[in-house]
Symmetry: C2
Subunit: 329 residues, 2 copies
Amino acid sequence: MRALSTEGLLDRFEAGDRTALSRTITLVENRSDGYAEILDKLFTKTGKAYRIGITGPPGAGKSTIVSSLVKTMRSRGVVVGVIAVDPTSPFTGGALLGDRIRMQEIGCDPGVFVRSMATRGSLGGLAEAAGDVADVMDAFGFDAVVTETVGVGQCELDIAQACYTTIVVIVPESGDGVQAMKAGLMEIGDLIVINKSDREGADRIAAEVRTMIEMRRSPEGPEDSIWRPQVLKTIASRGEGIAEVYAAVEEHRRFLSASGRLEQHRRLNVEGTIRSIVESELHRRAWNPESLGRLASLVVEVAEGRKTPRQASGEILAQAGTGPMRERG
Amino acid sequence: MRALSTEGLLDRFEAGDRTALSRTITLVENRSDGYAEILDKLFTKTGKAYRIGITGPPGAGKSTIVSSLVKTMRSRGVVVGVIAVDPTSPFTGGALLGDRIRMQEIGCDPGVFVRSMATRGSLGGLAEAAGDVADVMDAFGFDAVVTETVGVGQCELDIAQACYTTIVVIVPESGDGVQAMKAGLMEIGDLIVINKSDREGADRIAAEVRTMIEMRRSPEGPEDSIWRPQVLKTIASRGEGIAEVYAAVEEHRRFLSASGRLEQHRRLNVEGTIRSIVESELHRRAWNPESLGRLASLVVEVAEGRKTPRQASGEILAQAGTGPMRERG
């Protein structure tokens, strides 16, 4: 299993081998030896996949929308990678089996690749890892990467917002719209989808959301540089309204492209990647066997009140950052 | 408002001025100028407050338990700081008003100091900031710091687990126990509290939890080095069972103290503080106006495929980490 070298793996990856894709994602998600080198090699092949993020409260039907949206994209010949970010929250696990079955439905299509990511076990930041996995899928040649964040935390919102088009899904249940509004969800949504819109209150919440969007102070600038979030109604379980959602995604994409925002997104992505390599390299430099040994004795000195934490940190720093950048891989 | 110098603030802090405490916490929570120096100066005064963490699913009654537990502690003369970590999750804001009213009840007592912390607006990691605020309260002279995490994410679990005694609160609702178990909540709980235990199923869930704890493989080592999580039933809204919870906290504290684990906790706290100063200092070194300027042009080069992210990072790193540690404050 471990005999395959990085080069062998990347050769197979470039040949379009899905097993190699899967193993590469695992390497990257787990931050295994050599992952940074792999990401670096793949990076030049990225920038082609359109990135769509989907977020919203539990029970809003995000997975059903993803599944239905992916089918629509497939019918138009789009090859899609799907990342389901499941933070395995301690308290919301109930609906997952159903979600997984829905995902399996689309997962059988050779033009679709579905990958789940969990918080537990992923070292480092989940948002960063999710972005890296999207890069891997992008490099593999998918036309689009759809990232669904199942969770409700800031991290999941960050992931969704890092995508080019962010879809916020809510349901007509009382208060949902207001909650979403208060939480600033409307701020990050390029499209607001009212799912389960055959339920009572769908028209009211859609009107509320539209009003709130209109009431927002208009951004300055020429009209064609402003995107007004679209509000759409769906019944994802029956596929209703999903073609319209995809049409709105495409419209948003054209807007981003024409206004130069797509290029801006791409650059932010590049910047994030460079920053994260710098940070992790600094981390490696600071925490070597020597400094970790010194840390152990400094902890005792500080715990006994003989040094302050800052004096101790100064000693660690004095020996950090002077060595050359160590090669990995 | 801004005229008070750090020295003046700390003088008043040391004199027991609660307004100075409040302002110090704000400085630390917001990572304002000079916060690191303040934390460093206060650190030698820490290590006396006993730290209790409370976590559990939304609606389990954590705030009611905190409120009731604090009253019990007050009746025994314990001076208590309370930190309510509210991640202002987009989707769970409903119960907060009631929680705040309950908190106000105890907040009127001069032997209690309540502070809420939110994710939004706090720069850097919430877990780190919550630990720093606990340090400030510790240095101020509280006998105990109780940290309630309202959220359900990994970060909130980390905060609870960083305390000396962690209380996990669940309710008899069907499936709650199983969910908590699956999520590893049982692993972090030193006490498992079944709240609202007048509801149906309380005995069943208590029995289930006890069985699961017993079924866990016994850790190796002499009997007095092993803590078996206690399972307790409460009806916090009526104060029932809370004295027993506090007695169990005290028992756990004696266990930690006798087994040397308390000292171990303290050292982990010190280690975390040193590490975080080192990391943030490295961050400051790497990202100066010069390197940020260079970053902007490197982003273009990488986006255009003329460099890989790793090559770009190498250039940033080449100029980082060589300068002296800059003084703050």
